[in-house]
């Protein structure tokens, strides 16, 4: 019907108060820009921090836990009564996974699984002169480890492939290397928990960004570690699995632990605190963003209110010549929505540009060797939320002034002169 007329009137009123309208619009633009840039930046940092841990953590890890045998011999003798047994010690069960080869093969055939890689964790002492420094040497399948856990990203000096190419080689954690004063090409001596000694050649440094890890962990090829421990080629203490969908991990861990008769940890259980941290951080960024939008909503509310006081006459005339309260209401709602839509759209564009800008800012830190600039998350989700929110806030900012305008009694205004 007369939408064209109503919009035309709304537009004319807006143009008449051009400066104020622009100020209101700039408020919306600013808050949407900040909302998008802030959320993108915060979540970029978030996923980077999470990635620090989660990228390198297997979704499911199979291993044999050192624990007492739940089936003690006396239970075979007398099943009827309760037993009180003291001083049970863990049984000398093997740390390696029985049948590791077939298990890995069957895992890699599972459609849910992205990749499987074996690992040996060996407790060692690094012998430096008369001092022994405790440490862990991880025996890894270099190619698969690089594939699944971005191993290469964390090797700051040297080449990962040297682990395969050089006999008895090791990539030392940066912290451990610093303590041992070990340069690339040096030989270091390690002693295993069983007492075997071996000389390893340093081919690179490893830096994860987590000091505790870098002070202790080193990497060698799986064969080297098997040799070091004096174990056969089938010896594997951990099987690490990466899934296509991380959320399946807990269920699959339970299921497969049953099937393979080994212990299984899933990523959610091991790293529960990360998820909480992520949630809290994004909650904070949403809270800040929404506050910005609400503040700009009040800006629009104020300007519309002022406009109504200034345009009392106009409203009264419109009513006198036959516009209903609803028409007047619509006019002011439309003004609010025009400010919201235009301001919101510009805000999204500027927010995107701000994101691109932030992404260019150099950000280099010792702890994060792979990060060169600030990370920004350009997830469309934030743009959709910001867009919807800009329209919703401006609508409500316009709603009350519009309602007030629709209630204006033309007789009061006209007779008041």
């Amino acid at each position: 019907m007369k939408w064209g007329l109503i919009t035309e009137l709304a537009w004319a009123l807006m143009v008449a108060r051009g400066k104020q309208t622009i100020v209101a619009g700039v408020g919306v633009v600013f808050s949407i820009t900040m909302f998008v840039a802030l959320l993108g930046f915060m979540n970029g940092l978030n996923s980077m921090l999470d990635g620090l841990i989660l990228n390198r953590t297997p979704h499911i890890r199979f291993y044999n836990e050192v624990k007492p045998n739940p089936n003690q011999p006396i239970q075979l003798f007398d099943r009827e009564t309760h037993h009180v047994i003291r001083s049970i010690k863990p049984s000398a069960s093997r740390l390696d996974i029985h049948n590791s080869g077939p298990i890995m093969e069957s895992l890699s055939r599972d459609p849910r699984v992205l990749g499987v890689t074996p690992r040996i964790t060996a407790q060692v002492f690094y012998n430096v002169g008369t001092i022994d420094i405790t440490g862990v040497v991880n025996g890894v399948d270099v190619a698969k480890e690089a594939d699944l856990f971005s191993f290469e990203d964390y090797v700051t000096t040297g080449n990962v492939q040297d682990l395969n190419n050089t006999l008895n080689s090791v990539i030392l954690g940066k912290g451990a290397a610093d303590r041992m004063l070990a340069e690339i090409g040096d030989l270091i001596q390690v002693t295993t928990a069983q007492g075997n000694r071996m000389q390893l050649k340093v081919v690179g440094y490893f830096q994860s960004g987590l000091g505790d890890v870098d002070n202790v962990q080193s990497y060698a090829s799986i064969n080297t570690v098997q040799k070091m421990l004096g174990e056969p080629a089938s010896y594997v203490t951990d099987i690490q699995v990466k899934l296509h969908d991380l959320n399946l991990a807990p269920a699959m861990a339970r299921e497969l632990a049953e099937v393979y008769q080994v212990d299984a940890d899933d990523i959610q259980t091991v790293n529960a605190q990360f998820e909480t941290g992520t949630q809290v951080r994004s909650l904070i960024s949403y809270a800040v963003g929404i506050t910005l939008l609400v503040v700009s909503g009040f800006g629009i509310y104020n300007i519309l209110n002022m406009m109504i006081y200034e345009k009392m006459d106009t409203i009264a005339i419109l009513k006198a010549i036959g516009f209903s309260g609803r028409d007047v209401n619509l006019i002011f709602i439309i003004i609010a929505l025009i400010i919201g839509v235009v301001g919101g759209a510009l805000g999204l564009v500027f927010g995107f540009l701000a994101g691109l800008g932030i992404e260019r800012i150099p950000f280099e830190t010792e702890a994060l060797p792979t990060i060169k600039t600030f990370p920004v998350d350009f997830n469309p989700k934030y743009y959709v939320i910001a867009g919807v929110f800009s329209i919703v806030t401006t609508y409500f900012a316009g709603y009350f002034p519009a309602k007030k305008a629709s209630k204006i009694d033309p007789v009061d205004i006209i007779r008041g002169k």
């Binding site: 007329l5 004319a12 419109l318 009513k319 006198a320 010549i321 007789v411 006209i414």
Partner: protein, 225 residues
């Protein structure tokens, strides 16, 4: 032949409540026939403007009944009243009350666009025709603030006429004009009455103006005498 009634009131009373309850209209009965040019006179404060705003359907807070074309209007929904104002009543105020944001042409156009009886092209044509009657066609595209007081009032009358209303109501339409302009405006009203048989009800305290009308309704203390 009895001319049909355009506007009729039956025992309309109105009270003002602040500062204290006072009765401003006392059981006013009034009948305006089709084609009549009626003026309402009285001292200021006698309730003539109050009566006019009740008749215009803008003021709904009164007792008694108001009929437009013999149909009861009292108590109708605000939305329907807006429609009646748009379609059947043309209003001319003491001040021009044009919309400053628009040109003269657009000001006259708005009520017609709101009514939507004609296409936009036809409306434009009709607006120009009305403006031509009042010698305003050359000022059609000027903004309101570029017009003189008399010109503004002529545009306001054109706006009141654009939907061919049943009745034109005026609240001291010449009250704010100098002698020559108020003569022009009066002549317009007179012309409307004689040539177009437009029904009109004009509130004024200008004796000369009133003398030129068909019928003078005099009010005192909220009563018609």
């Amino acid at each position: 032949m009895q001319r049909s009634s355009v506007l009729r009131t039956q025992n309309v009373s109105k009270y003002f409540y602040s500062p204290e309850k006072t009765q401003v209209l006392k059981e006013v009965c009034l009948d305006v026939k089709k084609g009549e040019f009626v003026s309402v006179m009285g001292k200021s404060g006698c309730g003539k403007s109050t009566l006019l705003y009740i008749l215009s359907t803008m003021d709904t807070d009164y007792e008694g009944q108001l009929y437009i074309e013999n149909e009861l209007v009292t108590g109708l929904d605000a939305k329907i009243l807006s429609r009646i104002r748009n379609e059947k009543i043309g209003f001319v105020f003491q001040f021009h009350y044009l919309l400053n944001e628009f040109s003269a042409l657009e000001n006259v156009k708005i009520p017609a666009m709101k009514l939507g009886r004609y296409s936009p092209e036809e409306i434009e044509h009709r607006v120009m025709e009305k403006l031509r009657i009042f010698g305003m066609e050359s000022h059609a595209l000027k903004k309101v603030h570029q017009l003189s007081g008399g010109q503004k009032q002529r545009v306001a009358i054109a706006r009141a006429l654009i939907n061919d209303p049943l009745i034109i109501m005026g609240d001291e339409p010449t009250g704010n004009l100098d002698k020559s302009n108020s003569d022009i405006v009066f002549n317009i009203f007179k012309e409307l009455a004689t040539e177009f048989h437009q029904t009109m009800l004009i509130v004024t305290h200008d004796d000369e103006f009133a003398k030129g009308t068909d019928r003078i309704i005099e009010m005192e203390d909220g009563r018609i005498i």
